[in-house]
Point group: C2
Chain length 463, copies 2
């Protein structure tokens, strides 16, 4: 390339460091500028492929010297544009840092590099009798899951990434390598930098190593689906199940529109009614007991059509249908994009919130599926939108805005698990009020030049 | 008082605000300057008794204007001097902010003021079928428990304060009132200020309201004790129990010296051997199943003398013996103080760590009991020390230092639950390395004058 690139001096220095692991080809830039959601394509100026922590540190030092933005890039499955280089600069791709480093089976934890994906981790753990339970659907990178505080279908039982990361190694904005947390199960020694970095979306430091809690593979597991006459009945069943203290491994709501999507996409052959997809983990006796207790609660709310899946392959079939929700949602309008909302409300308010969302989306003429990690009070409306049609995008965003405001009114949050990225910065003040001042102070203290993933989480000061 | 007091101008302004709820009497200052542990008595210049958040904000604004230190004060049960006014100034006593504000039974949470104690909370919850499970032994204030990231006997099942605080209200160093978190069970919207404040020991903000997760009272509960021929057998039983995934509600190690203390203090009549005290929660069938599984594991390690406690009053008797460990420890040498260590190691290293601690304490001629939240890898050596004898204090501190260094070598932490306070600042660099730079940067950003609980957590820069 002959023409002057932005951040040219940083790129030259990085080329000297990384050789052909610093890429400026149009094709690679275009690949790293895409997203699965409704955000615009945004190309980085170059992509760096570090192989180890020391290299990440050197990359950051070079970028700090040249005030060049760095945007960490994992599996690109984030839904709020977290991996997009909003101000150009370097996309730091962790795909060459994807090793399982240590399995501490006796301590039920594992040390991994950030580019390893959750499915690859579980494949490597297969012989140990242990597994990493978090399941956000996509085969996300573990570094990305930590950065966005991801969770998914099993969080109701096993918690979110906030509960799963024991310790981190990270490179800070000046290139310093730090370690947070320890191999111990708890600690009370100073400021909790682990939890500060988890969910910070690469804006405070770049995660280069993670220690993750594992779980023993349960002796027995059993899954089931059942259907309800109304979404309200389905949600009220979830609420009572959680309030009863049943230790559900999964309890997922799928509304009638999403069932239509599954039927189209996977030939699911399910009646087009609201469904719950549930799973139980434990000893054989505990699983049997939980299954009976859940069945009794579900019947109170008129559930019917129970289908059980006990064998591993039957459970896999059931959950892969659920996992393909995003693709099935897309398939309802193949030429359009997806705007996925992500509010989370106190569980006692979930029925009210979902009934309102269904009503409003119909009123506004939007194609909307609903899936919910209902046990956590978290649900997603998947809107099929033509991102090139400003009128339709405007309606979809207005709908999402109403859901966000309603979630805040109900004591909830505008994001249960997708994060803020570039998509929801406008709601940070409404959700956090004066606390936002101190988030800005922390960002300023830890990244005074603002080179780490600029344009994410914190709204521009005039917003 | 005629003589000029330090921070006189701040105290005058506070008197104008609070009237007789600003106290400068020698008696009250002496009371607030005491501690249960080995730290020196350190008197504040005055004690403020705010009644609400707005008053805390006004107090902090006055102190900020006059650069007057503020040390939050709850139930004074902290063991590392967290509540001591190391630089004088104001002790901010939360005893008049001790209300249960809201029970959100449907959402399994409760909103409380910081001065409410955990026992008072559970008394108020009695009719709801819910309880707050954390149990650090002392009847600590809930604000203090959050500030020190406390945990205790039930953390193995229900987590620590880091897992129990859903949301906070806090007053920051400039008097601004902020809210962190929400009533939703999870969120992914920006920097996790809740976890940053939990464990910050009042050095980043003063907690004025807490939203805490509750648990349903288990349908069935059963406790038991058993004894082992060696502490190593007892700990190896714990390790295998945890690795097997048994959802223990409590699994506590008590060594032979601590048993002697219980026998002296509570007429426990137990054989002077290492014991485990355990508890199971769940449905009747689950409790029975867990109890059998635990018994099988314990027998592998030669356990004998099983005593079960099923009735609530029998379980209370068992656990009140355990809760009185601090007093029983004191009673072994009534004229002396107690230095309690608090390391936490990866569970696979726990037997090694405890055997070494017993051997070293004997070698060094120290009177040492050991109790352990063994399921978490956390244990306490309770040393009877004459705080006025520099030689004995020196030996005790050298022993504690060896344990701390050994815990770090084993991948653990110098504090599982007591915190850093003024007692362990010297170990912050050894545990955190360069991460300490960023803890200092956060403190500087959020409390630039250093008025919030000075002398705690962060070592002086020349340390």
């Amino acid at each position: 390339m002959l023409d002057q690139r932005p951040h040219d001096s940083a790129i030259s220095a990085l080329q000297a460091l990384l050789g052909d692991r610093l890429v400026t080809s149009q094709a690679d830039r275009a690949l790293h500028g895409q997203n699965e959601s409704y955000h615009p394509t945004l190309l980085p100026d170059a992509i760096a492929y570090p192989e180890n922590t020391q290299e990440v540190s050197e990359i950051v030092k070079i970028c700090a010297e040249h005030t060049c933005p760095i945007t960490p890039y994992g599996a690109a499955s984030s839904l709020e544009g977290q991996h997009l280089a909003t101000k150009g600069g370097i996309s730091l791709d962790t795909s060459k840092m994807a090793k399982l480093l240590t399995v501490n089976a006796e301590d039920l934890n594992v040390v991994v590099q950030p580019g390893l994906t959750r499915i690859a981790l579980n494949e490597e753990l297969r012989a140990t009798g242990l597994f990493f339970p978090l399941d956000p659907g996509a085969n996300a990178s573990l570094g990305g899951m930590a950065a966005t505080r991801a969770s998914g279908t099993t969080a109701v039982r096993y918690g979110t990434m906030a509960d799963s990361v024991l310790a981190l190694e990270a490179v800070m904005a000046d290139g310093t390598i730090i370690r947070t947390g320890s191999q111990a199960r708890k600690s009370s020694t100073g400021y909790d930098l682990t939890h500060l970095l988890v969910g910070s979306e690469g804006t405070l430091g770049i995660i280069t190593e993670l220690t993750l809690r594992l779980q023993g593979i349960p002796e027995a597991a059993s899954a089931a689906t059942c259907r309800f006459n109304s979404v309200e009945d389905a949600v009220n069943c979830v609420i009572l199940t959680i309030q009863s203290g049943l230790p559900m491994a999964r309890i997922e709501l799928v509304d009638e529109m999403m069932v239509r999507g599954f039927n189209n996409y996977s030939d699911a052959g399910l009646p087009e009614k609201p469904h719950l997809f549930v799973e139980f983990h434990g000893t054989p006796a505990a699983v049997a007991e939980q299954s009976i207790s859940f069945g009794e609660i579900a019947e109170e709310f008129g559930a019917s059509g129970f289908e059980r899946a006990e064998k591993a392959e039957d459970r896999t079939r059931l959950w892969s249908m659920r996992h393909n929700a995003h693709q099935a949602n897309r398939a309802l309008a193949p030429t359009k994009g997806i705007l996925s909302t992500d509010v989370c409300v106190p569980i006692s308010k979930l029925a009210e919130a979902i009934v309102e969302a269904q009503r409003k989306s119909k009123e506004m003429g939007l194609s909307c599926t609903i899936v919910g990690h209902a046990g956590d009070g978290n649900y997603h409306c998947g809107l099929n939108v033509d991102t090139s049609d400003p009128e339709e995008m405007g309606r979809a965003k207005a709908f999402a805005g109403m859901l966000n405001e309603s979630a805040l009114r109900l004591g909830g949050t505008v994001s249960g698990e997708h994060g803020i990225g570039m998509g929801k910065t406008a709601y940070m003040h409404a959700e956090h009020g004066p606390a936002l001042i101190y988030m800005r102070a922390i960002k300023q203290a830890l990244d005074p030049q603002g080179i780490l993933n600029p344009g994410k989480i914190l709204p521009a000061t005039n917003q």
